[in-house]
């Protein structure tokens, strides 16, 4: 990867990280009433990952798990109403008070948005891999075979 890792840039990114995290969280929660939402939040989080990776601070890992978790969450939110006899994707609305944001009237939309965020972050992470691909990756087929034979 191209790594413009001058100390200044690295420090800047280190400082910016918490700030961006806050922005991301704000977007995630604000989405229901103001512009924002899970997707935008995910992209902001993703941007942090990209920057930190580019600056060689931290390499992302577990993108697959993050995405799988996101999809599972979204599916569960969609299917959950069935359990209490409602229709698919029926909304449950609850009001909660969140510090700094005030009263947030939200419900199942929130876990839904969290799932979305997780997926988007996962996507951005995988993009780093995809664009930095070298073609020398491990052959999954072969490794799988070994596992199977061993099992």
């Amino acid at each position: 990867m191209i790594a413009p890792s001058s100390p200044m840039v690295r420090t800047g990114i280190q400082v910016a990280t918490p700030l961006a995290v806050v922005v991301g969280i704000y977007l995630l929660f604000a989405g229901h009433n103001n512009p924002g939402g899970g997707f935008a939040a995910g992209l902001v989080f993703g941007a942090i990952v990209v920057l930190r990776s580019v600056a060689d601070i931290q390499q992302p890992s577990r993108a697959r798990e993050l995405m799988a978790f996101g999809v599972l969450l979204v599916v569960i939110v969609a299917a959950a109403p069935l359990l209490w006899g409602d229709l698919v994707l029926d909304q449950a609305v609850v009001s909660t008070k969140v510090p700094l944001l005030g009263k947030v009237k939200s419900g199942s939309a929130l876990p839904f948005d969290i799932g979305v965020t997780a997926i988007v972050v996962g996507l951005v992470m995988s993009l780093l891999d995809g664009l930095g691909q070298t073609g020398r990756g491990t052959d999954l087929d072969a490794s799988d075979d070994r596992t199977e034979v061993a099992a």
Partner: protein, 511 residues
């Protein structure tokens, strides 16, 4: 019913995500995937019987009215086609599990989850009553197919993957434009409302919309002149993947076309559709004749057969639509089986090239038998399902006095037969070429364990049995197709069993 619909769409997704999480626990991963796909297929079968019994069902997702929200429609058409499609994916997954250790297999870590996404997309595409959700469903199907096609990252796959992705991406973009046009003209993307509002539009706009969506769906369905992406991309994928693609992807396009163009009464497009149907049939058959590789021949057949379905639709009569639906139901499993047999051939011959194989019938009579049934069916020979389907379409053509298209359809049938004999003579008869021994050993048959072979043959045999079942119950399927056609076209059937069902539509959810 609501639960069934949710299960059909969501279960494979859940299985897919669990499959990704469990990617290193091979056995569990496969079990989870199969369970997810099975749940989906099973609930679709229950839906079929429920709807056949109680009439169509409309689900308003989240309880929103169709004006505002998304409507899922489990009508006769959807519930007839869905079980067939989902069973195919299930069978292919079993085959893929069996095939994984040979050189021809796809990456098992990905195929399971991706087939899950594909299943979910197919379910959504068939069940949705909302044009935009259809777009999303198409994207689900396509994106999983993009990945399935290219995930091995080999040169040939990347090359064909680029063609495939670019063409389909353009089609998706056109779909988005079409949605904009529809929304501008009718103020909604709900298909039920569109069925009322589109016929009220001025002729120009109405036909424009019809033609535009014909291009959109026609690209997915591989209709002339929009089919070019198909034969270049399908054969490069691992056989299991191609089997799913060939069985399903184009059919989703034709499904959408049958639904959209009948409910919006695009009868005026009929003649154009018939002309294109004729060209598609013949070009597809010619294309198949020109090839010398089993998978490529079969890929071109997909195109040719789409022509028949388009012909049924283009007649814009109940008989024609019935024929198209029946053809759809017949074609999906038959095509898939043929590709699965292609996979078996590859496994045993080390190649799917006609020039380099031969004499398989005496070495492996079982493969020959497994091939013969769907091949004869595809060529439209009795007593297989292909005959009934082709017969339904052609007799609808005769009823409508569409002599020219009937003649073309018959000629295309002869060409199909010729190309099937080409495969038969090239692969199953004749002498085995000297090279094939080397190729066979390269293919790694040696490493295929008995269990794997059983899974592959079992899956293929099951699918062949499925096509035979379709042939056997062709009568019942025809009746179901006819009811579906009546329901789609909004005709009042003169005398039809359970006609009162067609009008009885249960509303799910509060409006």
């Amino acid at each position: 019913m609501s639960t069934l619909i949710a299960l059909t769409i969501l279960a494979p997704l859940a299985a897919a995500s669990l499959g990704v999480l469990l990617r290193n626990r091979v056995v569990w991963r496969d079990i989870v995937t199969v369970i997810g796909l099975f749940a989906s297929a099973a609930s679709s079968f229950i839906m079929l019987f429920t709807v056949a019994d109680q009439g169509s069902y409309r689900l308003h997702v989240g309880g929103w009215s169709p004006e505002l929200g998304i409507e899922l429609v489990a009508d006769r058409f959807a519930t007839l086609v869905l079980p067939v499609a989902l069973s195919i994916i299930l069978v292919v997954e079993v085959f893929a599990i069996g095939q994984r250790r040979t050189a021809w297999g796809a990456n098992p870590e990905l195929t399971g989850p991706l087939l899950g996404v594909l299943t979910s997309g197919v379910s959504l595409a068939f069940l949705t009553g909302d044009l935009f959700t259809l777009f999303v469903a198409f994207e689900l199907i396509l994106v999983s197919s993009y990945v399935l096609l290219t995930h091995q990252g080999q040169r040939e796959q990347v090359r064909s993957g680029m063609s495939y992705v670019v063409m389909n991406l353009l089609a998706s973009t056109l779909f988005l434009f079409g949605l904009a046009f529809v929304y501008a003209a009718a103020g909604t993307v709900n298909m039920g409302l569109l069925a009322e509002r589109i016929p009220e539009l001025s002729d120009g706009v109405r036909l424009g919309l019809g033609a535009w969506f014909f291009v959109v769906f026609g690209t997915k369905a591989a209709v002339f002149p929009l089919f070019s992406w198909l034969p270049d991309s399908y054969p490069t994928a691992p056989t299991t993947i191609t089997a799913v693609f060939a069985g399903l992807l184009t059919k989703v396009g034709i499904y959408a076309m049958i639904r959209f163009h009948t409910i919006t009464e695009m009868d005026a497009l009929g003649p154009i559709m018939l002309v294109l149907a004729g060209i598609t049939m013949v070009i597809g058959a010619f294309g198949a004749l020109a090839q010398s590789d089993v998978k490529r021949i079969l890929s071109f057949h997909v195109i040719s057969q789409i022509g028949y379905m388009l012909m049924g639709l283009g007649l814009f009569s109940t008989a024609g639509t019935t024929g198209a639906i029946l053809f759809l139901v017949h074609h999906m499993p038959v095509k898939t089986v043929l590709f699965l047999v292609g996979g078996l051939i590859e496994n045993h011959e080390g190649t799917s090239s006609l020039d380099r194989s031969g004499g398989l019938a005496s070495r492996k009579p079982l493969i020959a038998a497994l091939f013969a049934v769907p091949a004869l069916s595809l060529a439209g020979l009795p007593p297989f399902s292909g005959f009934v389907a082709k017969f339904a379409v052609i007799s609808a053509g005769i009823q409508a006095d569409a002599v020219a298209i009937v003649a073309v359809a018959l000629i295309a049938g002869a060409l199909t037969l010729l190309s099937m004999t080409k495969i038969w003579l090239g692969v199953f008869w004749g002498s085995d070429a000297d090279q094939s021994d080397i190729l066979r050993s390269q293919a790694g048959i040696v490493s295929t364990s008995v269990a794997n072979r059983r899974a592959m043959f079992g899956a293929t045999g099951l699918a062949v049995a499925g096509t035979l079942t379709i042939s056997l119950f062709a009568g019942a399927l025809f009746d179901l197709s006819e009811k579906a056609a009546f329901e789609l076209r909004g005709d009042t059937p003169a005398v039809i069993d359970g006609a009162e069902d067609a009008s009885a539509i249960n509303n799910g959810g509060q409006p």
